[in-house]
């Protein structure tokens, strides 16, 4: 979906004040080095135990006007204008977050959350925000994706540590979305089912179609990163206030690549808490 290839260190989407503040956080200013992070204490220590240091809380935002699309009332169909909007706005937010991580000299971002808030004040206006903690390996090394972006992952600090222990590393937060219109029934069809137990096959079919489209897109994104799989994948279904006949199917997960051939972990010991 992105138009031009990502250049490491690019800061196109960032306002000047943000670049200045991030550089100060690196210690390139009057103030000493400082990191911010939304990791909990446990996550912070585990990320450090895995050999990484947090370098800063990074965010990307975009306030977006979602276009209008008139669907054929009696047809199941994807609303590609809305799908495009959801993709593009998330992409803008994600890229800006990655640019911030690059200014901080980070290897990647953990604990990424993508938040979409539909604003009640404006019709079709939504705030997209990507937020996470940028981290950097103490010993260096290349942790970028094959597209030269910093790695991104929605895994918690605990999951990140465990994943590294099992011989994988996260490369990219991959997502797929599909906004779909569910057909309304004609009067005849509606009258036929009055008072009867019956499947609403147009809804079932629409859910399947939307799900297949979203999942095939998330899979395509992971394959373009040369990943071997996706962990922590989830699908979210929401209508963002578009009414009962328009749904967004959103699939998201962390694409992983192996860092060793050995994926054995020591057998966990069993404990029984007495609390």
């Amino acid at each position: 979906m992105s138009s031009s290839p990502y250049q490491p260190g690019q800061e196109q989407g960032l306002p000047e004040a943000a670049v200045r503040r991030l550089k100060e956080m690196r210690g390139e200013g009057a103030t000493p080095k400082l990191f911010t992070s939304d990791l909990s204490v446990n996550e912070f220590l585990l990320v450090r135990e895995a050999g990484f240091d947090p370098v800063g809380l990074v965010m990307g935002s975009s306030i977006y006007h979602v276009g209008l699309q008139i669907a054929n009332v009696f047809q199941n169909q994807e609303l590609d204008v809305l799908t495009q909007a959801m993709y593009q706005a998330r992409e803008l937010a994600m890229t800006r977050m990655e640019e911030e991580a690059d200014v901080l000299g980070a290897d990647g971002i953990v604990g990424v959350r993508l938040i979409v808030t539909l604003q009640q004040w404006g019709e079709n206006m939504a705030e997209f925000m990507a937020i996470g903690t940028a981290i950097k390996h103490r010993a260096g090394g290349n942790y970028r994706t094959i597209h030269n972006r910093p790695f991104t992952s929605d895994l918690s600090g605990q999951d990140f540590w465990t994943l590294l222990q099992t011989g994988y590393r996260p490369v990219a937060l991959v997502m797929g979305t599909c906004v779909y219109h569910v057909a309304h029934q004609g009067l005849g069809a509606a009258l036929k089912r009055v008072g009867r137990n019956t499947e609403m096959e147009n809804f079932t079919q629409a859910l399947y179609d939307a799900r297949e489209l979203a999942l095939s897109r998330v899979q395509a994104e992971a394959e373009s990163e040369n990943a071997v799989g996706i962990v922590g994948a989830r699908v979210e279904e929401s209508s963002h206030g578009w009414g009962s006949h328009v749904i967004e199917y959103f699939a998201i997960g962390t694409a992983v690549v192996p860092i060793s051939t050995d994926h054995e972990v020591p057998a966990p010991s069993l404990v029984l808490p007495l609390t």
Partner: protein, 306 residues
């Protein structure tokens, strides 16, 4: 003459005491009742009959002892604050964007007063710090545009350590007892609670205005820029507070944004601007190797409970 009261004469000593408490509060201090109670509690401790109050759970209490602290008492800092009138940012051009400094400053000042009172209470008890602080920020029902900031925690003293010097402030930590223990075990110590906020008024430029009317997908760039400005100011304030504490980092940052629409009526035309509220807070930490070996070791377990 007392029309609505119980008919009892008002004790002039109580009136004088209430007035003295009010003057203390105006000066950013504590009411006399709190001062007396805490002084008593500290006195009991010095006489070898210590008595503590605390909102730590038994597990947290145990872990607090483990990292070398003993609880002295529950302490609180509170502030109810009226937000003043905010005029819209003005410039030579009628529509301008800018910080709504009355709104930002009301939050900053209410927070400063609440936390200063929390530290004053801890200081009266002879504490080295306050742990497990729970911080709430809400609209108050004391009146229109009134906000209420409250911080409640447990004052602790480092076991066997001499009392803090007069000019040294006790540390404040909003970590749970478990997190506090784990952090110290990992070679860090909490230094303080840090906060930053900004309310920014953004007037949309014509490009954003026409995009809002259109049928097509478009980013509202001037609004995004406004949100970024608010965020930069809020984060800079949080970072400035961290530098004052000589922190090496901030963990557990809580970041909130809220966009509010504002109708403006001027020169017989209606137009709207947006207020971008950004608020962030977290725990500033610094290196403190303590008696623990570095690095920590972690091993996976499976809980067979349930």
């Amino acid at each position: 003459m007392n029309l609505f009261g119980t008919g009892k004469a008002v004790d002039p000593a109580k009136l004088a005491r209430d007035e003295a408490s009010r003057q203390n509060i105006i000066g950013g201090g504590l009411p006399l009742n709190a001062v007396d109670r805490l002084t008593d509690q500290a006195q009991r401790g010095r006489e070898g009959k210590p008595f503590f109050t605390s909102d730590l759970s038994p597990n947290e209490l145990l872990l607090t002892h483990q990292c070398g602290f003993e609880p002295i008492g529950q302490v609180m800092g509170s502030c109810v604050y009226q937000v003043g009138w905010q005029y819209l940012p003005q410039s030579a051009w009628v529509y301008a964007s800018g910080e709504m400094d009355v709104l930002s400053q009301s939050q900053i000042e209410a927070r400063r007063l609440a936390f200063s009172r929390l530290r004053q209470e801890a200081k009266l008890l002879g504490a080295d710090g306050v742990v497990g602080v729970r911080f709430t920020r809400q609209e108050s029902n004391a009146g229109t545009s009134t906000i209420e900031f409250m911080a409640v925690g447990t004052a602790v003293r480092r076991t066997g350590a001499p009392p803090l010097a007069h000019d040294v402030e006790p540390f404040v930590s909003n970590l749970s007892g478990q997190d506090h223990w784990t952090l110290r075990r990992g070679g860090f110590a909490p230094l303080g609670f840090v906060f930053g906020t900004c309310a920014w008024y953004q007037y949309p430029d014509w490009r954003s205005q026409s995009a809002m009317m259109s049928w097509s997908n478009a980013e509202l760039t001037s609004l995004t820029r406004g949100l970024y400005t608010a965020r930069e100011i809020a984060m800079s304030r949080l970072e400035a507070e961290s530098h004052l504490l000589s922190a090496s980092g901030v963990v557990g940052v809580n970041f909130e944004t809220h966009i509010e629409v504002m109708e403006v009526q001027s020169q017989n035309q209606n137009s709207g601007g947006f207020i971008m509220h950004c608020t962030a807070w977290g725990t500033a930490i610094g290196r403190d190797p303590g008696p623990y070996p570095d690095p920590i070791s972690v091993s996976p377990i499976v809980s067979i409970r349930g």
